[in-house]
């Protein structure tokens, strides 16, 4: 195949799931998940088949047996604008393909046009259910390039906020997952508790979402007066209500029937599909960047990494509800040990001066003007930082050319990568379970499409 053929083939290639007769064999092998599986007819000791070899393709159906249906992007249980195309044989899903891009807003391109100072406003809008995580990973990448060390309090404020963020994100997931499985009570409960966390964020950052609070160099402000009482109240309340959720959902026969053994994925498949976060942990692999590659000050805190066994929807549910408990544990430890001091680095080239100083000091005025018109210059280099978001590994790759704007800013969105494992989970399941499985992947389309 020449290069021109490749261009011709891909320039206007269809993104949709096509009938088997029109699908090239290697694409079909991928769509039926044959890349990850060994055909059952094959001798178990022989080497894995060549993925390009069409002769070992295990196509057991023809187009006459199956029907391709479209699901989304406007369907309410797709959590945004995810479009799923599924090939069904009766009620069984044979192939499926997530089609994304409906929320693409070119945030990586926008990030190249904004200074580092403005950048956190942009990235916070990607994963809109955990905006602080996005700001954190962007700030950490910028700080790695700048080579600045943060004051202790800034690190601990960041940790407190990311753990509260994990709680609110998982509560939101419990709510929407409950809704997808027909439990409207759970939806109301989840949103109610999440609102408590968001109210605290509003008090701290001024906004319920898209805070732009964690910035390169520290945080935008200190925690508000009386934050200890607010956080204590949130922890006590959520801890109590998690018991209610257990009564309502965890032991409920209908819920267990619909989640246990549904949408299972093995550890090998999850690793091969680059899945991270609760999907990887549900298969029994204790991989949590907070523990395995500690950032901030997570190595000083006690918490458990929750893992599952079967990699099914119930495991992913159990991991998330127990991670809320771990986050409460972490928040309580942070509450006890919060150090005093500065909440941002005192470097006049990076940190804007306090408002009051601008009225008295000429230099402060100049620094303020320079920072907000030109921004600060970041030394040349490139860096990849990764942290554990509620959905998995969120990474930020920044290339700096020495100017005040990132030359390239790439976010590795966990939802974007995790969505690839959805066809593996859906294969062989019922179409009615597809909604529960999609929900258990917890995709946030803002981050998937960026």
């Amino acid at each position: 195949m020449s290069r021109d053929d490749l261009y011709l083939e891909t320039a206007e290639g269809a993104q949709e799931l096509r009938p088997r007769s029109e699908t090239p064999p290697e694409e079909l092998r991928r769509e039926v998940g044959a890349v990850l599986r060994r055909p059952e007819t094959l001798d178990p000791d022989s080497p894995a088949p060549d993925p390009y070899d069409a002769t070992v393709l295990d196509v057991e159906r023809s187009d006459e047996d199956t029907m391709i249906i479209n699901f989304g992007p406007q369907h309410p249980s797709t959590h945004g604008v995810l479009r799923l195309m599924m090939e069904l044989d009766g009620e069984t899903v044979v192939r499926s393909k997530p089609i994304i891009g409906y929320l693409h807003t070119g945030m990586e391109k926008t990030g190249e046009e904004l200074t580092y100072q403005q950048g956190s406003t942009n990235v916070t809008r990607m994963d809109y259910l955990s905006p602080l995580t996005n700001e954190l990973v962007f700030s950490m990448a910028t700080e790695a390039l700048l080579g600045i060390e943060l004051p202790k309090r800034a690190i601990w404020i960041r940790m407190l906020l990311s753990e509260l963020q994990r709680m609110s994100s998982h509560l939101m997931w419990l709510a929407t997952n409950g809704m997808d499985l027909g439990s409207t009570t759970m939806m109301i409960f989840g949103f109610r508790e999440r609102e408590m966390v968001l109210a605290f964020f509003e008090k701290t950052t001024g906004l319920r979402m898209n805070h732009n609070f964690i910035r390169p160099g520290g945080t935008a402000a200190d925690l508000p007066d009386g934050w200890e009482d607010d956080v204590e109240l949130i922890c006590d309340n959520v801890a109590d209500r998690l018991e209610d959720y257990d009564d309502l959902i965890t032991g409920q026969p209908i819920f267990r029937e619909r989640t246990e053994g549904v949408g299972a994925i093995t550890a090998e498949e999850a690793i091969a599909m680059s899945a991270t976060g609760p999907i990887l942990r549900s298969t029994g692999i204790a991989w949590d960047l907070r523990r395995t590659m500690p950032y901030l000050a997570y190595d000083e805190l006690n918490f458990d990494v929750i893992i599952g066994t079967y990699g099914d929807n119930f495991d992913r549910y159990a991991i998330r509800i127990n991670e809320i408990r771990e986050s409460i544990k972490l928040v309580r430890q942070i509450l006890e040990r919060m150090p005093s001091g500065d909440y941002r680095v005192q470097d006049k080239k990076v940190t804007p001066p306090p408002r009051a100083r601008i009225d008295e000091s000429m230099e402060a005025l100049i620094h303020h003007f320079k920072l907000f018109t030109e921004g600060y210059k970041v030394p040349e280099g490139e860096v990849y930082t990764a942290i554990e978001s509620p959905r998995g590994e969120i990474g930020c790759y920044i290339v700096s050319d020495g100017s005040a704007k990132p030359y390239r800013m790439h976010i590795r969105g966990p939802s974007f990568v995790n969505l690839q494992s959805l066809p593996v989970m859906l294969r062989g399941g019922l179409v009615a379970d597809a909604i529960a499985t999609t929900s258990s992947v917890d995709p946030v389309m803002g981050e998937t499409d960026r």
Binding site: L6, T10, T276, E393
Partner: protein, 163 residues
């Protein structure tokens, strides 16, 4: 570097500012290097992306590496050894074709589609190389440096209209 006992030909190590492990590979050595790293314990491909160095050709590179317009950047992760490594490959503009990694890491599929969609780098052997974020009939590759940022003219309420 303890990643591989000996670096294969066409591969050299570099240093990144933040002390992260970094390897540079030529295009013919690329697929073999990733396969060797996979055997050396890098089970997961964390990220694949590309960079267009059109307006920043003078970046710091080891002397063995000749700069080209594009770079494909692969971040590998080892769960067993708790280690990361980054591999950078120079891709010329005139022949922007790179071998796919899909046969090694099936999870690279969406990331390679994204790099194709945004930069127009063709990953030969990819099973389904179509645009992933942009519409199918989109022209141009948005993250290239010669692709300008879109602008919508602002129409103020009181301003007189065009006619």
């Amino acid at each position: 570097m303890s990643l591989l006992a000996t670096l294969p030909p066409g591969v050299c190590s570099g240093s990144s500012g933040a002390g992260q492990a970094l390897l540079f590979a030529t295009r013919p050595a690329y697929h073999g290097l990733i396969a060797a790293l996979k055997d050396a314990g890098f089970e997961m491909l964390a990220d694949l992306t590309a960079v267009d160095y059109l307006s920043h050709p003078g970046r710091s590179l080891p002397p063995e590496v000749a700069p080209e317009r594009f770079e494909v950047v692969v971040n590998l992760l080892s769960l067993s050894q708790v280690q990361r490594v980054r591999v950078r490959i120079q891709v010329p503009e005139s022949d922007a074709v790179v071998e796919t990694l899909w046969d090694l890491y099936p999870g690279v599929e969406a990331m390679e589609r994204e790099a194709y969609d945004m930069f127009g780098i063709v990953f030969s052997g990819h099973p389904d190389l179509t645009r992933i974020l942009m519409p199918e009939d989109w022209e141009g590759y948005p993250l290239r440096k010669d692709y300008s940022v879109g602008r919508v003219p602002v129409q103020f309420k009181e301003a007189p209209g065009p006619r």
